[in-house]
Each structure stands twice: as structure tokens, then as C-alpha cells.
């Protein structure tokens, strides 16, 4: 267990491969790349590998996306799958002629047999007349899905961003690292009421046209602190686009972010108006939940980007965060949490199933924020969960949603009934 002791300054050792057999919750680079790129609906997504990878990659964030597979068979494993990939690309383009660009995902099998996919992609690019990008994300690459996130962003950066110029509006921004489609909509509406135009959202709301002109903006707003940061830094380096780290996860963070964006564009007055309006709309409703949440214990286990913001959110709700886990957090993430947390928190990097059971039995949080896979285990221990992918939790109304859903998770009658003995 790579947990750290509860000293104020310490954080767990991280960015290390997980030990085999410990039942890790991490996934592979392919999963990470799919996670990033799946919402790009005007693209053809071809998975070069056995059919299972494609089947699994259909479902991303609870939405089914169309996927194409080369379906490598035994014969191709022996003789190579180059022919098959070339034919597949050709046929996929016939079946989906409107597609503007093609992503080809590498998988474990195709990487080990050593198909020269780059060469085929280049060749077919000329033949089909649309950009074909190799997403080199075999499952064994890197330590977790974070590797895939980075690979996907590199593909977008190196192949698409900066291809075409456009007239930059005075208040144009990109949002980087927002993948939830519902949340994207909320943030866009908040910003548009301030007079700011969101050009491209990576990748919750992006299209080919907007990606290739994504460098023609005044500012990048980073929401995902890990890969998003890398993306924004590269854009600053190459195209001189400055960036601003923002978060819309809680009331204070939303207000703070809107003010900073307002200040950057000289729209302070508009920002204040939006904040006032939004805050008034939720204020009365919010207060009925707050007493119930006070002093309750929460635990968080997510990817990496949102954990620090969530800790802040819970502290704003007067709740105690007892546990923070991350599948692929880095030292910066953990240091952030340590610095901002008022009390000592158990921080665990890459918790295994055993660590999670430990958490449920010993720390006994009242609510646990995690993915669907950990959710079922958590319920077995009589603890309520919240699925961050289900709802929209950003901005002001989103904060109300969050508070309401946390309240639901804690006070669902089922947990009390589960604890009661049968007469």
C-alpha cells in the first residue's frame, strides 16, 4: 500500500507502475486514449487489434459511440495485419463518407507483432484524401490510462491544432480538459452570458473545423490539471496562447474562476452580474441541505484532475474528507491536496481493492465519490456513492446538484435499513 502517513507535508510515492496481482483499479493506455477521443463524432475511429478492444471501447462515459475494428485473427497475427488495416480504412471511409478525419488506435497485439502502422496510415492518407492519425496507445504503454490521455492530446496537437487560420474574436477562449457533455454546456452558458465565446472544448464539444483553428483564441482555460496543463503549455509555446487554470466545481471556485476570467478580459462588471444572478437563483434552495451535510465524512477516488477541487468543495460544505485516492495522480496533485486541506487526509496513490475495503471498514465515510466499478463494492459495505459522470456538477446550479446528490447519497433510507437487524 502506497499510503502515506498523516504528516502535513508528506504525500505518497506516485507515478509508479502498479504491482501485479494487487487488483488495481487502473486501466490501460488504450482506455485513456478512447476516453479522450471518443466524443469526436465527426471522425472515424478504427481499432487495429482483436475485436475485444473495439467492443470495450464502444462505451465511453456511459455513451455508446460507433467504432470500427480490423478484427485481427490468428492468421493476421502470424502474417501481419497491414493488408487488413489498409482494407479496413478504405471500407470505413466508404461506410462513413462524411468523416473528416480518421483515428487509428494501436493495441497490444498489433504493437507486439510490429505492424508498421505509421507507413500504412501515410499511404492511405494520400489515397483517401483525409488525415489519418495513428494513436499509438498499446495497452502496455505507460503505467495507466494517463499515458493514453497524453498520447491522445499529442495526436491532436501535432496533427490538427494550428492547421488553419481564422479571425480571432476578441473574447474567444478554449476550454481544455472538460469531457462531460452536460457540464460543458453549463460552463459555455455561464461564459457566454459574460460575453465570452467558447471556441473549442477539448473534447466535450469539439469538431474538426474547431480543432484545426483552436490556436486562434485569446485564452485557454484549463480544467484538467494534468494532461490539460501539458496541452496548454505546448499551445503557449507554439502559438503564444496564454492559459488560466480554472475550476467550476464549487461555489467559491466558480465565483473565483469567473472573476479571474472577467479580470483577464476586462469584463469584471459582467462577471459580477452573472455571479449575482446565479447565486441568487440557488441560494435559498442550497441552505436546506447544508445543515444535513455538516460534519459528515466523505471519501474521493477519481482519476487525478478533479480530486483537489473536490476536496476543496467538500471543505466548503463543512464536510470532512477522510480519504483521497487517485488512479494516476502525480506529486503536484497530492501536494495541492496537502496544502489546501485543513485536516489530515489519507492520501493513497493507486489504491487496490484491499485498500478500498480498508477504507470502507475502518474510516467509514458517509459518502464515496468514485466510478461505477468501485461503486458496487462500496454499496456492499453500506456506504452511499455519487457518480460524477451521471450528473452535471459544475457552476452554480451544478453545485446545487452536487449538494443535493451528496445529500441523497448520505440520507438514502436504504443505508439505515441495511444496518438494522432483522427482528
Amino acid at each position: 500500500m502506497t499510503a502515506c502517513n498523516n504528516k502535513k507535508s508528506s504525500f505518497p510515492s506516485c507515478s509508479r507502475p502498479s504491482a501485479p496481482g494487487k487488483i488495481t483499479e487502473r486501466s490501460c493506455a488504450y482506455a485513456g486514449a478512447r476516453w479522450m477521443l471518443a466524443p469526436l463524432k465527426d471522425a472515424i475511429h478504427v481499432v487495429h487489434g482483436p475485436v475485444g478492444c473495439a467492443y470495450n471501447g464502444v462505451m465511453v462515459r456511459g455513451t455508446a459511440y460507433r467504432i470500427f475494428s480490423t478484427d485481427l485473427r490468428e492468421k493476421d497475427i502470424i502474417f501481419g495485419g497491414r493488408e487488413r488495416l489498409a482494407r479496413t480504412l478504405k471500407e470505413a471511409k466508404i461506410l462513413m463518407p462524411d468523416a473528416k478525419y480518421i483515428f487509428v488506435y494501436n493495441t497490444c497485439s498489433s504493437a507486439i507483432i510490429g505492424d508498421d502502422m505509421e507507413a500504412i496510415c501515410n499511404k492511405m492518407e494520400d489515397e483517401l484524401g483525409c488525415p489519418i492519425v495513428l494513436v499509438d496507445c498499446p495497452g502496455f504503454k505507460g503505467q495507466s490510462e494517463a499515458a493514453g490521455h497524453k498520447i491522445a492530446y499529442e495526436c491532436l496537437l501535432n496533427r490538427f491544432v494550428g492547421q488553419k487560420q481564422r479571425d480571432t474574436g476578441h473574447y474567444d477562449v478554449n476550454i481544455i480538459g472538460q469531457y462531460n457533455v452536460n457540464e460543458t454546456k453549463i460552463i459555455k452558458s455561464l461564459l457566454s452570458r459574460m460575453g465570452i465565446n467558447v471556441h473549442c472544448v477539448f473534447t466535450g464539444d469539439a469538431s474538426y473545423e474547431r480543432i484545426i483553428t483552436a490556436h486562434c483564441v485569446k485564452l485557454n482555460l484549463i480544467i484538467c490539471k494534468n494532461t490539460g496543463q501539458f496541452f496548454a503549455e505546448t499551445m503557449q509555446e507554439r502559438y503564444g496562447v496564454p492559459y488560466l487554470k480554472v475550476s467550476f466545481l464549487s461555489l467559491s471556485q466558480s465565483i473565483n474562476s469567473l472573476r479571474r476570467i472577467g479580470k483577464y478580459f476586462g469584463l469584471e462588471k459582467e462577471a459580477e452580474t452573472v455571479i449575482d444572478e446565479e447565486y441568487k437563483a440557488i441560494k435559498s434552495q442550497l441552505t436546506q441541505f447544508l445543515p444535513g451535510l455538516k460534519g459528515k465524512k466523505a471519501a474521493v477516488f477519481l482519476g487525478a484532475a478533479r480530486i483537489a477541487d473536490l476536496v476543496k468543495t467538500f471543505e466548503a460544505l463543512d464536510m470532512e474528507v477522510v480519504f483521497v485516492g487517485s488512479r494516476f495522480g502525480n506529486a503536484v496533485n497530492y501536494r495541492d491536496i496537502r496544502q489546501m486541506a485543513k485536516v489530515d487526509i489519507h492520501i493513497v496513490d493507486d489504491p487496490s481493492e484491499q485498500n478500498l475495503e480498508d477504507l470502507f471498514c475502518k474510516l467509514r465515510p458517509d459518502v464515496f465519490i468514485a466510478g461505477i466499478k468501485e461503486q458496487s463494492l462500496c454499496h456492499k459495505f453500506g456506504i452511499g456513492t455519487l457518480l460524477p459522470q451521471l450528473g452535471a456538477y459544475v457552476g452554480f446550479k451544478g453545485f446545487l446538484n452536487f449538494t443535493r446528490d451528496v445529500h441523497k447519497a448520505i440520507y438514502a433510507p436504504v443505508w439505515r435499513l441495511a444496518r438494522e437487524e432483522m427482528p
Binding site: 496481482g21 497490444c108 481493492e353 446538484n401
Partner: protein
């Protein structure tokens, strides 16, 4: 005063009722942008030359997963068994997501965490370390070692690694440590077959590793195949009525549908699952019933070849004909009479069919699923007087073709048969043929919406409705439930409300 403000004290019923009503709006779910738009904006007829899967290389929206998934499904049906997947992390995490989605249950699957170094130097180090970690942290009783494409291509010698691993463990912790744990190696290279074949191989592998012949016992073996926990409970119910002792190999009814009872112990293991001793005893039974020929048939055949236990393979007991066949065979093999209650259950199903044939007769249905389930459903819809217009199986199977043709000939239908085709091909036929009802899994939800044909969810996987894993669709009672689903869906979509009040 809102109920939530005085929660430190004990809640009254009124408080609880008040709690379930959440007056606060926030953003309601119907305001959210839920992506339910059709896959393509409008139907453009694609190039007809490459619609049939046989004429193209590309697979669009595959209807089958790779073999390791089936092997994992099988392994979690064994008591205190943890599958150990010799592959990259995604090979376990994706199936765990899938299990969580379908069954809403936690499933522990360990991985060898392949990284770049493993791809170059082989998986020996990861395997030995992984098995050690798994045993000393989780104390499983069985470890199912499952290979995937990467380890098979690299050429990991699993048998050799296992011997080495056991030696090292015994040296470190003493010989007792490996007494308590059994191993089964299941070779499932992902580039052949499908999840159905993976289940099949798991059945054979477990029986090869564990089954023995000693003194014959008057009981039967059941290899259920990839059916739901509810289905297995229904099979148990039938066996109980017939007063037959049985061993169910891969009994997921109590591992993938478990009660929530506090306090929970650590590490978390479901109470149920097939016990090791029962698997060892499977060589002594009167007969083996493999309910799904493609998923589990290999296990039955092994027992027949090795221990002379007669194999009764398929078809899946759904509908009148197939269930009759199953129960007749059960009675014959065990010498027990068919129980009166079972005859009554059959009568109730027949009665339900008699009451509803007005609605079902002549309806054209499209079916897609795993081969055994699709074949059984095809026969059942024929029995209901419905026409199976398009029948597809994600996995290629000879048995499937035979069973579907047998049913189609008997009832004089000529269905379009897609053996091993993908969902894209099937979807295209749905748009061209006039279809009244789709019987398929959740993967067809989008297709159903786009083609505006109602969908009855059955088979693997169903993740967008709750409770499907608890309901049986096999046996007379299960078929009755399926009949109700079919008729109610038709009533909802094909008949105006004022025609329904008889």
C-alpha cells in the same frame, strides 16, 4: 421543518417520506443534454456491396468480445475464485466495468499489469510476483489463470511459470500455502473465437484441472453457459421440483447477484459460487447437461470422453419445445418422474400463450445475441406465431445455424441468417425489412430508437435497465416472463390505449 435537519435522532416514517421527495430543482435530468441522437443523422443507404460482413474486412459495432471475457465470467462463478489475467491492465478493467454495468456487483479480477518491459522480456516476472501478491493479500481458494492476446503472442509458458511460482511460494512460506489454493490455466488468445468460446474453454479447463472419478453419485451436472443469475435460479427451481441433486458449474447466481448484509467481512467475497469439492465430484454424475452448446459444451464433452458421463448438449431450455426436451432428458437420465408442479408451470405458460396469440401472431421480429440465446429465442418466437425475419449471432457457430433452420423449417419461415455478422449489418436489414419488434441486448438500443422499432432486452449485455440479471428467461416460468415482456412491448407500441380494455 425539513426532515434532514434533525437526523441525529431516529427518523419517523413521515420523515423518511419527506426525505424521498427532493423539492430542489438544480438542473433536472431532463434539462441535461443526454446524447440519445441516432448514430447517423439521417439514413443514407450505404454502399450495398460491402454491407454483408462476409464481403468486407472492417467490423463495425462488433457483437462479440474477446475470449478472456468469457473465461472471467466463468471463473467468477466459482466460490472464492479470483481470475488472474496475464495481460495489460485494460484487459481486466474493461471487463470489470462491464460486469459492474450488467450485474451492479463488485468483481475482483487481478491483472499481471503488463508494461513495456513485459512486452519485451515476457511476463514471467509479473506472473510470479502477481500470484504471490494475490495469494498473500486476498487468500483466494482458486486462481483462474487467463491469458490474453499479448501474453499468447509473446509466448508466455504459463504451465512453466506456474510451477516456478508454486516452488517459490513454498520456499518462502512453507508448503502449506499452496495446499489451500487450486489453479486452473485457461488459454484464451483474444484473436480467435469470442467470449462464448472463452466460457467454453474455461469449462473444459476447470474440469481437466480438477474433476476426478471415484464412486458414482445419483446427481447431474449442469453447465449453464452465459445466462443470468436469475436463469440459474430458475434451473435450480426446476431441479428442486424434480428432486434431483445437482452441481452447477459456474454458479453465478450467488456471486453476481448477492445480498447486501452488514457487517461485511474483509476481503470481500460473495457467499455463493460453485465449491471446489463439487467440481472434483463432477466425474461421478449421472449426466452432464450443457444448456448452451457453444458455451460449456466442451466441458460436457470432456467429461463424456474422460469419465463416461453422458453429455446432453443444448438447446437452451426456453419456450415449450426446448424446455420439454430438457425436462424429458432430465427425467430419463435420473429416472425421476416429471413433477406435477412442472406440468402446471407448463400449463400456465400455454395458457398465457393462448391468451395473447392475438397480439403476437404474424409479427415480424429481428433477433440478435449470443448464438445459443439467439437460437432459443428464435424457436420461442416461432412458437408464439411470430416470424423471425432476421436472426443474427455475434459469434460464428454451426450449432446456431442448425437450430435456427430446424425451427424455421418446422414453422415454415425463411429468416435472414447472419452467422457471426456484426451489428451494423443486422441494423441495415432492420431498416430495409419491415420489423415489428427487436429482441436483442442493450447494444441495440440506439438501433431501436433510430428505426423506431420497440426493443425487448434479453441476453448479454443488458446494462441500461435494472433487474434483467435477476429475471429468468429459461424454463416455463422464465419463458412466461419473456412472453409478458414481448406482449407488453407490443401492446405499448402497436395498439391504441382504448383498444386494450377488453
Amino acid at each position: 421543518m425539513p426532515a434532514q435537519l434533525k437526523l441525529n435522532g431516529r427518523l419517523t416514517i413521515e420523515d423518511l417520506n419527506a426525505l424521498t421527495e427532493m423539492p430542489v430543482e438544480g438542473i433536472t435530468y431532463d434539462q441535461m443534454y443526454i446524447e440519445k441522437e441516432p448514430i447517423c443523422p439521417e439514413y443514407k443507404e450505404p454502399d450495398q456491396d460491402i454491407i454483408p460482413s462476409s464481403k468486407r474486412t472492417v467490423v463495425v459495432d462488433p457483437g462479440r468480445i474477446c475470449m478472456p471475457f468469457g473465461a472471467m465470467w466463468a471463473s467468477v462463478g466459482i466460490h472464492k475464485c479470483i481470475p488472474f489475467v496475464q495481460g495489460a491492465q485494460g484487459c481486466t478493467t474493461y471487463p470489470r466495468y462491464t460486469f459492474s454495468r450488467i450485474f451492479r456487483e463488485p468483481v475482483s479480477i487481478a491483472t499481471a499489469s503488463f508494461h513495456e518491459d513485459t512486452a519485451v522480456f515476457g511476463g514471467r516476472k509479473n506472473f510470479i510476483e502477481g500470484i504471490r501478491n494475490l495469494i498473500i493479500r486476498y487468500h483466494p481458494e482458486v486462481i483462474a489463470i487467463i491469458t490474453v492476446c499479448s501474453s499468447e503472442i509473446i509466448g508466455d509458458d504459463m504451465e512453466g511459470y506456474l510451477d516456478e511460482s508454486i516452488d517459490e511460494l513454498e520456499e518462502e512460506f512453507g508448503p502449506e500455502i499452496t495446499d489451500e489454493v487450486k489453479f486452473a490455466i485457461i488459454h484464451t488468445p483474444s484473436f480467435t473465437g469470442s467470449h462464448v468460446e472463452g466460457y467454453n474453454r474455461a469449462a473444459a479447463a476447470f474440469l481437466k484441472a480438477l474433476a476426478k472419478r471415484s464412486t458414482p453419485e445419483p446427481k447431474v451436472n449442469i453447465i449453464p453457459g452465459m445466462i443470468t443469475p436469475g436463469d440459474i435460479r430458475e434451473i435450480k427451481h426446476i431441479l428442486r421440483l424434480m428432486d434431483i441433486e445437482s452441481t452447477i458449474l459456474f454458479d453465478i447466481s450467488e456471486t453476481l447477484d448477492c445480498p447486501l448484509r452488514l457487517p461485511q467481512t474483509m476481503p470481500y467475497y460473495p457467499k455463493g459460487g460453485t465449491r471446489i469439492n463439487d467440481i472434483v465430484n463432477m466425474g461421478n454424475s449421472l449426466a452432464t447437461f450443457a444448456l448452451c452448446p457453444d458455451a460449456g459444451g466442451a466441458g460436457a464433452k470432456y467429461l463424456e470422453k474422460r469419465f463416461k458421463v453422458p453429455a446432453m448438449i443444448g438447446p437452451m431450455p426456453m419456450g415449450i419445445y426446448n424446455t420439454d426436451f430438457f425436462i424429458k432428458n432430465l427425467a430419463e437420465r435420473t429416472g425421476k418422474p416429471v413433477a406435477e408442479e412442472i406440468k402446471d408451470e407448463r400449463g400456465i405458460l400455454i395458457d398465457a400463450m393462448a391468451d395473447t396469440f392475438h397480439y403476437t401472431m404474424g409479427r415480424r421480429v429481428a433477433i440478435y445475441g449470443d448464438p445459443d440465446i439467439a437460437a432459443a429465442v428464435t424457436r420461442f418466437v416461432c412458437e408464439l406465431g411470430m416470424e423471425p425475419a432476421i436472426v443474427g449471432s455475434g459469434t460464428e457457430s454451426k450449432q446456431f445455424v442448425e437450430e435456427v433452420w430446424a425451427a424455421a423449417h418446422e414453422y415454415d419461415y425463411k429468416p435472414i441468417l447472419l452467422n457471426g455478422g456484426d451489428m451494423f449489418e443486422w441494423e441495415d436489414y432492420i431498416k430495409k425489412e419491415k420489423i415489428d419488434l427487436i429482441l436483442s441486448n442493450s447494444k441495440a438500443a440506439n438501433i431501436s430508437k433510430e428505426a423506431k422499432v420497440p426493443l425487448v432486452r434479453i441476453g448479454f449485455p443488458v446494462y441500461d435497465r435494472v433487474g434483467c440479471q435477476r429475471r429468468a428467461t429459461v424454463g416455463y416460468r422464465g419463458s412466461e416472463y419473456l412472453l409478458d415482456l414481448i406482449v407488453n412491448t407490443l401492446l405499448e407500441s402497436k395498439f391504441p390505449d382504448d383498444r386494450l380494455q377488453q
